[in-house]
Protein backbone atom coordinates (compact mmCIF):
# COMPACT_ATOMS: atom_id res chain seq x y z
CA UNK A 1 0.00 0.00 0.00
CA UNK A 2 2.61 2.67 0.87
CA UNK A 3 4.18 3.76 -2.40
CA UNK A 4 7.03 4.92 -0.29
CA UNK A 5 7.68 4.25 3.39
CA UNK A 6 6.35 7.23 5.42
CA UNK A 7 8.89 9.50 7.12
CA UNK A 8 9.61 8.42 10.68
CA UNK A 9 8.69 4.79 10.06
CA UNK A 10 11.20 2.09 10.85
CA UNK A 11 10.57 0.92 7.28
CA UNK A 12 10.68 -2.68 6.12
CA UNK A 13 10.98 -5.24 8.89
CA UNK A 14 11.16 -9.02 9.24
CA UNK A 15 10.09 -11.29 12.04
CA UNK A 16 12.16 -14.15 13.45
CA UNK A 17 11.34 -17.31 15.33
CA UNK A 18 13.00 -19.10 18.22
CA UNK A 19 12.32 -22.74 18.89
CA UNK A 20 12.34 -23.73 22.57
CA UNK A 21 12.77 -27.39 23.51
CA UNK A 22 12.98 -26.88 27.26
CA UNK A 23 9.50 -27.87 28.53
CA UNK A 24 7.34 -25.07 29.90
CA UNK A 25 5.09 -25.93 32.85
CA UNK A 26 1.91 -23.91 32.67
CA UNK A 27 -0.28 -22.62 35.49
CA UNK A 28 -3.13 -24.90 34.37
CA UNK A 29 -0.97 -27.97 35.10
CA UNK A 30 -0.21 -28.86 31.49
CA UNK A 31 3.28 -28.78 30.02
CA UNK A 32 4.34 -27.60 26.60
CA UNK A 33 7.29 -29.87 25.73
CA UNK A 34 8.37 -27.59 22.92
CA UNK A 35 7.11 -24.38 21.42
CA UNK A 36 8.03 -21.50 19.19
CA UNK A 37 7.91 -17.77 19.78
CA UNK A 38 7.84 -15.36 16.88
CA UNK A 39 9.31 -11.94 17.57
CA UNK A 40 10.49 -8.78 15.90
CA UNK A 41 13.33 -6.43 16.84
CA UNK A 42 13.96 -2.80 15.92
CA UNK A 43 17.15 -0.80 16.46
CA UNK A 44 20.44 -2.19 17.71
CA UNK A 45 21.35 -3.81 21.02
CA UNK A 46 24.25 -1.72 22.35
CA UNK A 47 27.50 -3.26 23.58
CA UNK A 48 26.56 -2.92 27.25
CA UNK A 49 23.22 -4.60 26.42
CA UNK A 50 21.30 -2.13 28.54
CA UNK A 51 19.09 -0.45 25.93
CA UNK A 52 16.57 -3.24 25.36
CA UNK A 53 12.84 -2.57 25.60
CA UNK A 54 10.22 -5.31 25.59
CA UNK A 55 6.75 -4.38 24.36
CA UNK A 56 3.98 -6.77 25.46
CA UNK A 57 0.89 -6.88 23.32
CA UNK A 58 -2.79 -6.66 24.19
CA UNK A 59 -5.64 -9.03 23.36
CA UNK A 60 -5.51 -8.84 19.59
CA UNK A 61 -1.99 -7.45 19.23
CA UNK A 62 1.03 -9.16 17.78
CA UNK A 63 4.82 -9.02 17.73
CA UNK A 64 4.57 -6.66 14.74
CA UNK A 65 4.92 -3.32 16.51
CA UNK A 66 6.06 -1.08 13.71
CA UNK A 67 7.08 -0.90 10.09
CA UNK A 68 5.94 -2.83 7.03
CA UNK A 69 6.71 -6.34 5.83
CA UNK A 70 6.58 -5.35 2.18
CA UNK A 71 5.58 -2.46 -0.03
CA UNK A 72 2.21 -4.12 -0.59
CA UNK A 73 1.37 -4.02 3.14
CA UNK A 74 -1.83 -2.10 3.76
CA UNK A 75 -1.01 -1.15 7.35
CA UNK A 76 2.11 -0.80 9.49
CA UNK A 77 2.58 -2.52 12.88
CA UNK A 78 0.06 -1.77 15.63
CA UNK A 79 2.24 0.72 17.58
CA UNK A 80 3.63 2.60 14.59
CA UNK A 81 2.53 5.83 16.34
CA UNK A 82 4.92 5.20 19.20
CA UNK A 83 7.77 2.98 17.98
CA UNK A 84 10.25 4.14 15.35
CA UNK A 85 13.32 6.27 14.67
CA UNK A 86 12.95 9.59 16.49
CA UNK A 87 9.59 8.53 17.88
CA UNK A 88 8.58 8.29 21.54
CA UNK A 89 10.11 4.82 21.81
CA UNK A 90 13.10 5.80 19.75
CA UNK A 91 14.62 2.94 17.79
CA UNK A 92 17.73 5.06 17.24
CA UNK A 93 18.40 4.73 20.97
CA UNK A 94 16.63 1.60 22.05
CA UNK A 95 16.63 -2.01 20.94
CA UNK A 96 12.90 -2.72 20.89
CA UNK A 97 11.48 -6.25 20.94
CA UNK A 98 7.93 -7.34 20.19
CA UNK A 99 6.86 -10.94 20.78
CA UNK A 100 3.70 -12.83 19.87
CA UNK A 101 2.37 -14.52 22.98
CA UNK A 102 1.94 -18.25 23.36
CA UNK A 103 -1.54 -19.28 22.26
CA UNK A 104 -1.46 -16.56 19.63
CA UNK A 105 -2.26 -16.97 15.97
CA UNK A 106 0.49 -14.94 14.34
CA UNK A 107 3.39 -17.39 14.43
CA UNK A 108 3.96 -18.36 18.06
CA UNK A 109 2.76 -21.80 19.09
CA UNK A 110 -1.00 -21.74 19.59
CA UNK A 111 -4.25 -23.49 18.71
CA UNK A 112 -3.55 -23.29 14.96
CA UNK A 113 -0.10 -24.91 15.34
CA UNK A 114 0.53 -28.59 14.78
CA UNK A 115 0.24 -30.68 17.93
CA UNK A 116 3.25 -33.03 17.78
CA UNK A 117 1.26 -35.77 19.52
CA UNK A 118 -1.58 -35.88 17.00
CA UNK A 119 0.03 -34.27 13.98
CA UNK A 120 -3.11 -32.12 13.71
CA UNK A 121 -3.68 -28.54 14.84
CA UNK A 122 -4.02 -28.23 18.63
CA UNK A 123 -7.40 -26.52 18.29
CA UNK A 124 -9.26 -26.58 21.61
CA UNK A 125 -6.62 -28.92 23.07
CA UNK A 126 -4.11 -26.11 23.30
CA UNK A 127 -3.77 -25.58 27.06
CA UNK A 128 -5.07 -22.38 28.61
CA UNK A 129 -2.15 -20.03 29.16
CA UNK A 130 -1.95 -17.28 31.76
CA UNK A 131 -0.19 -13.95 31.95
CA UNK A 132 2.34 -15.62 34.25
CA UNK A 133 3.02 -18.31 31.61
CA UNK A 134 3.55 -15.64 28.98
CA UNK A 135 6.00 -13.76 31.15
CA UNK A 136 7.92 -16.97 31.87
CA UNK A 137 8.16 -17.66 28.13
CA UNK A 138 9.20 -14.06 27.46
CA UNK A 139 11.93 -14.40 30.09
CA UNK A 140 13.28 -17.38 28.17
CA UNK A 141 13.22 -15.32 25.01
CA UNK A 142 15.28 -12.64 26.81
CA UNK A 143 17.91 -15.26 27.58
CA UNK A 144 18.07 -16.31 23.94
CA UNK A 145 18.44 -12.68 22.89
CA UNK A 146 21.26 -12.19 25.43
CA UNK A 147 19.33 -9.61 27.47
CA UNK A 148 19.92 -9.93 31.21
CA UNK A 149 17.93 -6.88 32.14
CA UNK A 150 15.40 -4.89 30.12
CA UNK A 151 15.75 -1.11 30.30
CA UNK A 152 11.96 -1.20 30.33
CA UNK A 153 9.06 -3.55 29.81
CA UNK A 154 6.09 -1.69 28.35
CA UNK A 155 2.52 -2.62 27.55
CA UNK A 156 -1.03 -1.34 27.26
CA UNK A 157 -4.20 -3.08 28.44
CA UNK A 158 -3.50 -6.84 28.67
CA UNK A 159 0.07 -5.86 27.76
CA UNK A 160 0.21 -3.69 30.89
CA UNK A 161 -0.81 -6.70 32.96
CA UNK A 162 2.19 -8.59 31.61
CA UNK A 163 4.38 -5.67 32.67
CA UNK A 164 3.04 -5.91 36.23
CA UNK A 165 3.66 -9.66 36.22
CA UNK A 166 7.21 -9.12 34.97
CA UNK A 167 7.97 -6.72 37.81
CA UNK A 168 6.59 -9.22 40.35
CA UNK A 169 8.03 -12.45 38.93
CA UNK A 170 11.42 -11.21 37.69
CA UNK A 171 12.18 -8.10 39.75
CA UNK A 172 15.85 -7.98 38.74
CA UNK A 173 15.17 -8.39 35.04
CA UNK A 174 13.79 -4.92 34.35
CA UNK A 175 14.72 -1.39 35.43
CA UNK A 176 11.49 0.32 34.40
CA UNK A 177 7.91 -0.85 34.07
CA UNK A 178 5.47 1.18 31.98
CA UNK A 179 1.86 0.15 32.52
CA UNK A 180 -0.68 1.81 30.24
CA UNK A 181 -4.49 1.61 30.51
CA UNK A 182 -4.37 -1.58 32.54
CA UNK A 183 -5.85 -3.01 35.73
CA UNK A 184 -4.55 -5.23 38.53
CA UNK A 185 -7.39 -7.67 37.79
CA UNK A 186 -10.70 -7.71 35.94
CA UNK A 187 -14.00 -6.65 37.45
CA UNK A 188 -17.15 -8.77 37.23
CA UNK A 189 -18.29 -6.48 34.41
CA UNK A 190 -15.05 -7.06 32.49
CA UNK A 191 -15.37 -10.83 32.88
CA UNK A 192 -19.03 -10.66 31.84
CA UNK A 193 -18.15 -8.93 28.57
CA UNK A 194 -15.52 -11.60 27.91
CA UNK A 195 -18.00 -14.36 28.62
CA UNK A 196 -20.55 -12.93 26.18
CA UNK A 197 -17.81 -12.83 23.54
CA UNK A 198 -16.87 -16.43 24.29
CA UNK A 199 -20.47 -17.56 24.16
CA UNK A 200 -20.89 -15.90 20.78
CA UNK A 201 -17.98 -17.99 19.46
CA UNK A 202 -18.72 -21.22 21.25
CA UNK A 203 -22.41 -21.35 20.28
CA UNK A 204 -21.67 -20.68 16.62
CA UNK A 205 -22.65 -23.91 14.78
CA UNK A 206 -19.40 -23.62 12.83
CA UNK A 207 -17.33 -23.77 16.04
CA UNK A 208 -17.51 -27.59 16.29
CA UNK A 209 -16.22 -27.47 19.89
CA UNK A 210 -13.09 -25.79 18.61
CA UNK A 211 -12.37 -28.38 15.90
CA UNK A 212 -13.49 -26.14 13.05
CA UNK A 213 -10.15 -26.50 11.22
CA UNK A 214 -11.02 -30.14 10.46
CA UNK A 215 -14.32 -29.01 8.98
CA UNK A 216 -12.55 -26.47 6.86
CA UNK A 217 -14.60 -23.63 8.29
CA UNK A 218 -14.41 -20.94 10.97
CA UNK A 219 -17.02 -19.73 13.49
CA UNK A 220 -17.26 -16.50 11.57
CA UNK A 221 -20.46 -15.08 12.98
CA UNK A 222 -19.40 -15.78 16.56
CA UNK A 223 -15.99 -14.20 16.07
CA UNK A 224 -17.63 -11.20 14.40
CA UNK A 225 -19.97 -10.63 17.33
CA UNK A 226 -17.10 -11.06 19.80
CA UNK A 227 -15.06 -8.44 17.98
CA UNK A 228 -17.96 -6.00 17.71
CA UNK A 229 -18.65 -6.35 21.42
CA UNK A 230 -14.96 -5.85 22.18
CA UNK A 231 -14.88 -2.69 20.08
CA UNK A 232 -17.82 -1.25 21.98
CA UNK A 233 -15.86 -1.55 25.20
CA UNK A 234 -12.80 0.12 23.63
CA UNK A 235 -14.72 3.30 22.81
CA UNK A 236 -16.39 5.88 25.01
CA UNK A 237 -19.96 7.04 24.55
CA UNK A 238 -18.61 10.50 23.68
CA UNK A 239 -16.29 9.35 20.92
CA UNK A 240 -19.06 7.23 19.39
CA UNK A 241 -21.36 10.25 19.46
CA UNK A 242 -18.64 12.35 17.83
CA UNK A 243 -17.61 9.78 15.23
CA UNK A 244 -21.02 8.47 14.24
CA UNK A 245 -23.81 10.13 16.17
CA UNK A 246 -27.04 8.95 14.62
CA UNK A 247 -25.77 9.54 11.12
CA UNK A 248 -27.28 7.32 8.45
CA UNK A 249 -25.50 5.82 5.48
CA UNK A 250 -28.32 6.88 3.22
CA UNK A 251 -30.64 9.83 3.68
CA UNK A 252 -33.67 7.88 4.81
CA UNK A 253 -34.40 4.96 7.06
CA UNK A 254 -35.63 1.82 5.35
CA UNK A 255 -37.49 0.01 8.12
CA UNK A 256 -35.36 -3.10 7.66
CA UNK A 257 -32.32 -4.80 9.25
CA UNK A 258 -29.71 -3.73 6.75
CA UNK A 259 -26.83 -1.46 7.65
CA UNK A 260 -28.50 1.91 8.21
CA UNK A 261 -26.62 3.77 10.90
CA UNK A 262 -22.97 4.66 10.39
CA UNK A 263 -22.10 3.02 13.70
CA UNK A 264 -23.48 -0.28 12.38
CA UNK A 265 -21.34 0.06 9.31
CA UNK A 266 -18.28 0.74 11.46
CA UNK A 267 -18.84 -2.32 13.64
CA UNK A 268 -19.33 -4.55 10.62
CA UNK A 269 -16.17 -3.20 9.07
CA UNK A 270 -14.23 -3.96 12.27
CA UNK A 271 -15.69 -7.46 12.29
CA UNK A 272 -14.82 -8.00 8.59
CA UNK A 273 -11.20 -7.03 9.01
CA UNK A 274 -10.83 -9.18 12.14
CA UNK A 275 -12.32 -12.42 10.91
CA UNK A 276 -9.73 -13.02 8.24
CA UNK A 277 -6.77 -12.38 10.54
CA UNK A 278 -7.64 -13.77 13.95
CA UNK A 279 -8.27 -17.30 15.16
CA UNK A 280 -11.35 -17.96 17.29
CA UNK A 281 -9.60 -20.41 19.64
CA UNK A 282 -6.88 -17.83 20.25
CA UNK A 283 -9.55 -15.23 21.03
CA UNK A 284 -11.03 -17.57 23.62
CA UNK A 285 -7.60 -18.18 25.18
CA UNK A 286 -6.74 -14.48 25.34
CA UNK A 287 -9.99 -13.61 27.10
CA UNK A 288 -9.36 -16.39 29.62
CA UNK A 289 -5.85 -15.06 30.30
CA UNK A 290 -7.47 -11.70 31.03
CA UNK A 291 -10.10 -13.20 33.34
CA UNK A 292 -7.58 -15.23 35.33
CA UNK A 293 -5.09 -12.39 35.76
CA UNK A 294 -4.89 -11.58 39.47
CA UNK A 295 -1.31 -11.44 40.74
CA UNK A 296 -2.55 -10.53 44.22
CA UNK A 297 -4.66 -13.69 44.54
CA UNK A 298 -1.77 -15.36 46.37
CA UNK A 299 -1.85 -12.70 49.08
CA UNK A 300 -5.60 -12.56 49.57
CA UNK A 301 -6.07 -9.74 47.06
CA UNK A 302 -3.49 -7.51 48.76
CA UNK A 303 -1.70 -6.00 45.78
CA UNK A 304 0.70 -4.08 48.02
CA UNK A 305 1.79 -7.31 49.71
CA UNK A 306 2.51 -9.07 46.44
CA UNK A 307 4.69 -6.16 45.32
CA UNK A 308 7.14 -6.20 48.23
CA UNK A 309 9.93 -7.68 46.11
CA UNK A 310 9.39 -5.37 43.16
CA UNK A 311 12.32 -3.09 42.44
CA UNK A 312 11.56 -1.55 39.03
CA UNK A 313 10.66 2.11 38.70
CA UNK A 314 7.11 2.46 37.41
CA UNK A 315 5.29 4.80 35.10
CA UNK A 316 1.54 4.21 35.11
CA UNK A 317 -0.81 5.88 32.61
CA UNK A 318 -4.56 5.92 32.22
CA UNK A 319 -7.09 7.76 30.06
CA UNK A 320 -10.01 9.68 31.54
CA UNK A 321 -12.76 8.22 29.35
CA UNK A 322 -11.50 4.63 29.48
CA UNK A 323 -14.31 2.69 31.14
CA UNK A 324 -12.93 -0.73 30.30
CA UNK A 325 -9.91 -0.16 32.56
CA UNK A 326 -10.76 3.14 34.18
CA UNK A 327 -8.26 5.51 35.86
CA UNK A 328 -9.50 4.12 39.18
CA UNK A 329 -7.94 0.75 38.28
CA UNK A 330 -4.60 2.45 37.66
CA UNK A 331 -4.90 4.21 41.02
CA UNK A 332 -4.98 0.75 42.61
CA UNK A 333 -1.67 -0.09 40.95
CA UNK A 334 -0.13 3.25 41.92
CA UNK A 335 -1.23 2.82 45.53
CA UNK A 336 0.36 -0.63 45.77
CA UNK A 337 3.59 0.87 44.45
CA UNK A 338 3.79 3.83 46.81
CA UNK A 339 2.73 1.60 49.69
CA UNK A 340 6.06 -0.11 49.01
CA UNK A 341 7.95 3.20 48.71
CA UNK A 342 8.76 2.39 45.08
CA UNK A 343 9.49 5.03 42.49
CA UNK A 344 6.29 5.63 40.56
CA UNK A 345 4.89 8.37 38.40
CA UNK A 346 1.30 8.44 37.22
CA UNK A 347 -0.30 10.41 34.40
CA UNK A 348 -4.02 10.57 33.77
CA UNK A 349 -4.44 11.62 30.16
CA UNK A 350 -7.49 13.69 29.29
CA UNK A 351 -9.07 11.97 26.32
CA UNK A 352 -12.52 11.10 25.05
CA UNK A 353 -11.28 8.14 23.00
CA UNK A 354 -11.96 5.49 25.64
CA UNK A 355 -9.68 2.47 26.03
CA UNK A 356 -8.48 2.81 22.42
CA UNK A 357 -6.60 5.97 23.41
CA UNK A 358 -3.46 4.00 24.24
CA UNK A 359 -2.97 3.30 20.55
CA UNK A 360 -3.44 6.91 19.45
CA UNK A 361 -0.90 9.73 19.10
CA UNK A 362 -2.50 12.07 21.66
CA UNK A 363 -0.21 15.06 22.36
CA UNK A 364 -0.13 14.83 26.18
CA UNK A 365 0.30 11.04 25.99
CA UNK A 366 3.26 11.41 23.63
CA UNK A 367 4.67 14.20 25.79
CA UNK A 368 4.73 12.29 29.10
CA UNK A 369 5.68 8.94 27.62
CA UNK A 370 8.42 10.68 25.62
CA UNK A 371 9.67 12.43 28.76
CA UNK A 372 9.81 9.12 30.61
CA UNK A 373 11.64 7.35 27.79
CA UNK A 374 14.11 10.24 27.71
CA UNK A 375 14.69 9.76 31.42
CA UNK A 376 15.40 6.06 30.87
CA UNK A 377 17.86 6.93 28.11
CA UNK A 378 19.57 9.65 30.16
CA UNK A 379 20.07 7.64 33.34
CA UNK A 380 21.81 4.85 31.44
CA UNK A 381 23.59 7.23 29.04
CA UNK A 382 21.90 5.54 26.10
Amino acid sequence: MPEKIPDGSIGLVKSSTFHFDQPLSLACGATLDEYELVYETYGELNTSRDNAILVCHALSGTHHLAGYYCMEDRKPGWWENIVGPGKVIDTNKFYVVGVNNLGGCHGSTGPTSRNPETDKPYGPDFPIVTVGDWVESQQRLSEKLGIEQWAAVIGGSLGGMQVLQWAIDFPDSLRHAIVIAAAPKLTAQNIAFNEVARQAIRTDPAFYDGHYYEHDTIPESGLRIARMLGHLTYMSDDIMAEKFGRALREDTINFDYGVEFQVESYLRHQADSFVGTFDANTYLLMTKALDYFDPAAATGSDLSAVMTNVSADFFVLSFTSDWRFSPQRSHEIVKALHDNDLNVSYAEIESHHGHDAFLLPLPQYLSVLGAYMERIATESSI
Binding site: V334, H338, D341, N343, S345, A347, E348, Q364, A371, Y372
Partner: protein, 201 residues
Protein backbone atom coordinates in the same frame (compact mmCIF):
# COMPACT_ATOMS: atom_id res chain seq x y z
CA UNK B 1 21.74 25.69 42.79
CA UNK B 2 19.41 28.51 43.74
CA UNK B 3 15.70 27.90 43.97
CA UNK B 4 13.29 30.00 41.96
CA UNK B 5 10.83 30.64 44.77
CA UNK B 6 11.52 32.39 48.07
CA UNK B 7 9.57 29.84 50.13
CA UNK B 8 11.54 26.86 48.76
CA UNK B 9 14.75 27.77 50.60
CA UNK B 10 13.01 27.95 53.97
CA UNK B 11 11.21 24.65 53.34
CA UNK B 12 14.51 22.99 52.41
CA UNK B 13 16.05 24.22 55.67
CA UNK B 14 13.18 22.74 57.65
CA UNK B 15 13.38 19.28 56.11
CA UNK B 16 15.83 16.80 57.61
CA UNK B 17 18.12 14.75 55.34
CA UNK B 18 16.82 11.50 53.84
CA UNK B 19 13.25 12.27 54.86
CA UNK B 20 10.17 10.83 53.12
CA UNK B 21 8.24 13.72 51.64
CA UNK B 22 4.90 14.20 49.91
CA UNK B 23 4.70 17.49 48.00
CA UNK B 24 1.11 18.50 47.29
CA UNK B 25 0.79 20.67 44.21
CA UNK B 26 4.44 20.10 43.36
CA UNK B 27 4.37 22.21 40.17
CA UNK B 28 7.27 21.42 37.86
CA UNK B 29 9.00 19.35 40.55
CA UNK B 30 11.71 21.92 41.30
CA UNK B 31 11.55 21.61 45.09
CA UNK B 32 11.41 17.80 45.18
CA UNK B 33 14.19 17.57 42.64
CA UNK B 34 16.42 19.86 44.73
CA UNK B 35 15.53 18.06 47.98
CA UNK B 36 16.38 14.74 46.42
CA UNK B 37 19.71 15.93 44.98
CA UNK B 38 20.90 17.97 47.96
CA UNK B 39 19.36 16.20 50.94
CA UNK B 40 18.72 12.63 49.80
CA UNK B 41 15.00 13.13 50.27
CA UNK B 42 12.62 10.69 48.56
CA UNK B 43 8.88 10.69 48.00
CA UNK B 44 6.22 11.87 45.61
CA UNK B 45 4.72 15.00 44.18
CA UNK B 46 1.04 15.38 43.47
CA UNK B 47 0.09 17.67 40.63
CA UNK B 48 -2.89 18.20 38.36
CA UNK B 49 -1.53 20.30 35.50
CA UNK B 50 -0.54 18.43 32.33
CA UNK B 51 2.49 20.60 31.51
CA UNK B 52 3.85 20.25 35.03
CA UNK B 53 3.50 16.46 34.83
CA UNK B 54 5.75 16.33 31.77
CA UNK B 55 8.27 18.64 33.45
CA UNK B 56 8.32 16.56 36.65
CA UNK B 57 8.99 13.43 34.63
CA UNK B 58 11.75 15.26 32.77
CA UNK B 59 13.25 16.27 36.11
CA UNK B 60 13.19 12.67 37.33
CA UNK B 61 10.63 13.48 40.03
CA UNK B 62 8.02 10.89 41.07
CA UNK B 63 4.79 12.66 40.23
CA UNK B 64 1.22 11.47 40.59
CA UNK B 65 -1.44 13.28 38.59
CA UNK B 66 -4.40 13.87 40.85
CA UNK B 67 -6.82 16.54 42.02
CA UNK B 68 -5.96 17.46 45.62
CA UNK B 69 -9.59 18.20 46.34
CA UNK B 70 -10.23 14.47 45.98
CA UNK B 71 -8.18 13.98 49.14
CA UNK B 72 -5.25 11.76 49.99
CA UNK B 73 -7.21 8.58 50.71
CA UNK B 74 -4.82 6.45 48.64
CA UNK B 75 -2.06 7.21 51.13
CA UNK B 76 -1.95 5.28 54.38
CA UNK B 77 -1.53 6.88 57.80
CA UNK B 78 1.94 8.08 58.73
CA UNK B 79 3.47 7.26 55.34
CA UNK B 80 5.69 10.36 55.32
CA UNK B 81 7.90 12.51 57.52
CA UNK B 82 6.68 15.72 55.90
CA UNK B 83 3.83 16.77 53.69
CA UNK B 84 4.41 20.04 51.88
CA UNK B 85 1.67 22.29 50.58
CA UNK B 86 3.41 25.24 49.02
CA UNK B 87 1.37 28.14 47.66
CA UNK B 88 -1.57 25.80 47.09
CA UNK B 89 -3.69 25.97 50.27
CA UNK B 90 -5.43 29.11 49.03
CA UNK B 91 -6.39 27.36 45.77
CA UNK B 92 -7.88 24.26 47.37
CA UNK B 93 -11.62 23.88 47.82
CA UNK B 94 -11.48 22.48 51.34
CA UNK B 95 -8.36 23.82 53.11
CA UNK B 96 -9.46 22.62 56.55
CA UNK B 97 -10.00 19.05 55.33
CA UNK B 98 -6.72 19.11 53.45
CA UNK B 99 -4.83 20.12 56.60
CA UNK B 100 -6.44 17.22 58.44
CA UNK B 101 -5.51 14.84 55.63
CA UNK B 102 -1.93 16.11 55.66
CA UNK B 103 -1.49 15.23 59.30
CA UNK B 104 -3.14 11.87 58.80
CA UNK B 105 -0.55 10.72 56.26
CA UNK B 106 2.46 12.49 57.75
CA UNK B 107 4.11 13.34 61.05
CA UNK B 108 4.58 16.99 60.14
CA UNK B 109 3.05 19.42 57.69
CA UNK B 110 4.58 22.41 55.96
CA UNK B 111 2.34 25.04 54.46
CA UNK B 112 3.16 28.23 52.59
CA UNK B 113 0.66 30.74 51.25
CA UNK B 114 0.42 34.35 50.09
CA UNK B 115 -0.44 36.51 53.10
CA UNK B 116 -3.65 38.36 52.32
CA UNK B 117 -3.00 40.53 55.39
CA UNK B 118 0.09 42.06 53.78
CA UNK B 119 0.07 45.85 53.79
CA UNK B 120 -0.03 46.08 50.00
CA UNK B 121 -3.15 43.97 49.85
CA UNK B 122 -4.69 45.92 52.72
CA UNK B 123 -4.07 49.21 50.94
CA UNK B 124 -5.31 47.94 47.59
CA UNK B 125 -8.52 46.63 49.14
CA UNK B 126 -8.99 49.06 52.08
CA UNK B 127 -8.14 52.31 50.32
CA UNK B 128 -8.31 51.41 46.65
CA UNK B 129 -11.49 49.41 47.14
CA UNK B 130 -10.35 46.74 44.71
CA UNK B 131 -9.20 43.14 44.99
CA UNK B 132 -5.41 43.12 45.40
CA UNK B 133 -3.17 42.35 42.46
CA UNK B 134 0.54 42.27 43.36
CA UNK B 135 3.70 40.18 43.19
CA UNK B 136 2.35 37.30 45.28
CA UNK B 137 -1.19 37.64 43.94
CA UNK B 138 -0.49 38.33 40.28
CA UNK B 139 -3.88 37.43 38.79
CA UNK B 140 -7.19 39.27 38.64
CA UNK B 141 -10.10 38.19 40.84
CA UNK B 142 -11.86 36.55 37.91
CA UNK B 143 -9.01 34.36 36.66
CA UNK B 144 -7.16 33.54 39.85
CA UNK B 145 -7.20 29.93 41.08
CA UNK B 146 -7.17 31.31 44.63
CA UNK B 147 -10.51 30.70 46.29
CA UNK B 148 -9.52 30.63 49.98
CA UNK B 149 -7.12 33.48 50.67
CA UNK B 150 -6.23 34.08 54.30
CA UNK B 151 -3.92 36.00 56.63
CA UNK B 152 -1.45 34.68 59.18
CA UNK B 153 -4.00 35.33 61.92
CA UNK B 154 -6.71 33.44 60.04
CA UNK B 155 -4.45 30.47 59.51
CA UNK B 156 -3.34 30.33 63.13
CA UNK B 157 -6.95 30.50 64.29
CA UNK B 158 -7.83 27.56 62.05
CA UNK B 159 -4.87 25.57 63.42
CA UNK B 160 -6.13 26.20 66.94
CA UNK B 161 -9.57 24.93 65.93
CA UNK B 162 -8.14 21.82 64.27
CA UNK B 163 -5.84 20.98 67.24
CA UNK B 164 -2.75 21.68 65.19
CA UNK B 165 0.44 22.71 66.95
CA UNK B 166 2.56 25.24 65.06
CA UNK B 167 6.24 24.34 65.37
CA UNK B 168 7.76 27.13 63.31
CA UNK B 169 6.52 30.24 61.58
CA UNK B 170 8.26 32.44 59.08
CA UNK B 171 6.97 35.45 57.18
CA UNK B 172 9.10 36.56 54.29
CA UNK B 173 9.01 39.10 51.54
CA UNK B 174 8.77 38.20 47.91
CA UNK B 175 12.57 37.86 47.63
CA UNK B 176 13.00 35.97 50.91
CA UNK B 177 14.19 38.96 52.94
CA UNK B 178 13.16 39.02 56.59
CA UNK B 179 14.02 42.37 58.21
CA UNK B 180 13.08 43.61 61.71
CA UNK B 181 9.72 44.95 60.49
CA UNK B 182 8.80 41.49 59.30
CA UNK B 183 9.73 39.96 62.64
CA UNK B 184 7.68 42.49 64.62
CA UNK B 185 4.66 42.66 62.32
CA UNK B 186 4.63 39.50 60.22
CA UNK B 187 0.93 39.75 59.38
CA UNK B 188 1.43 43.27 58.08
CA UNK B 189 4.72 43.02 56.19
CA UNK B 190 4.96 39.33 55.32
CA UNK B 191 4.22 38.60 51.69
CA UNK B 192 4.54 34.86 52.05
CA UNK B 193 3.68 32.93 55.21
CA UNK B 194 5.42 29.66 56.05
CA UNK B 195 4.42 27.23 58.76
CA UNK B 196 5.69 23.91 60.05
CA UNK B 197 3.20 22.09 62.24
CA UNK B 198 2.02 18.79 63.70
CA UNK B 199 -0.94 17.32 65.53
CA UNK B 200 -1.23 18.50 69.13
CA UNK B 201 -0.12 15.73 71.45
Amino acid sequence: MSLSRSDFQVISDWISPNARVLDLGCGNGELLSALSKNQGVSGYGIEIDDKNISQCINAGVNVIQRDLDLGLSDFDEDSFDYVILSMTLQASNYPHRLLGEMLRVSAEGIVTFPNFGNIKSRIQLGLGGRMPVNRTLPLEWYNTPNVHLCTLKDFEELCEKLDIEILERRAVSHNNKSGPGLKLFPNLFGEIALYRFRKKV
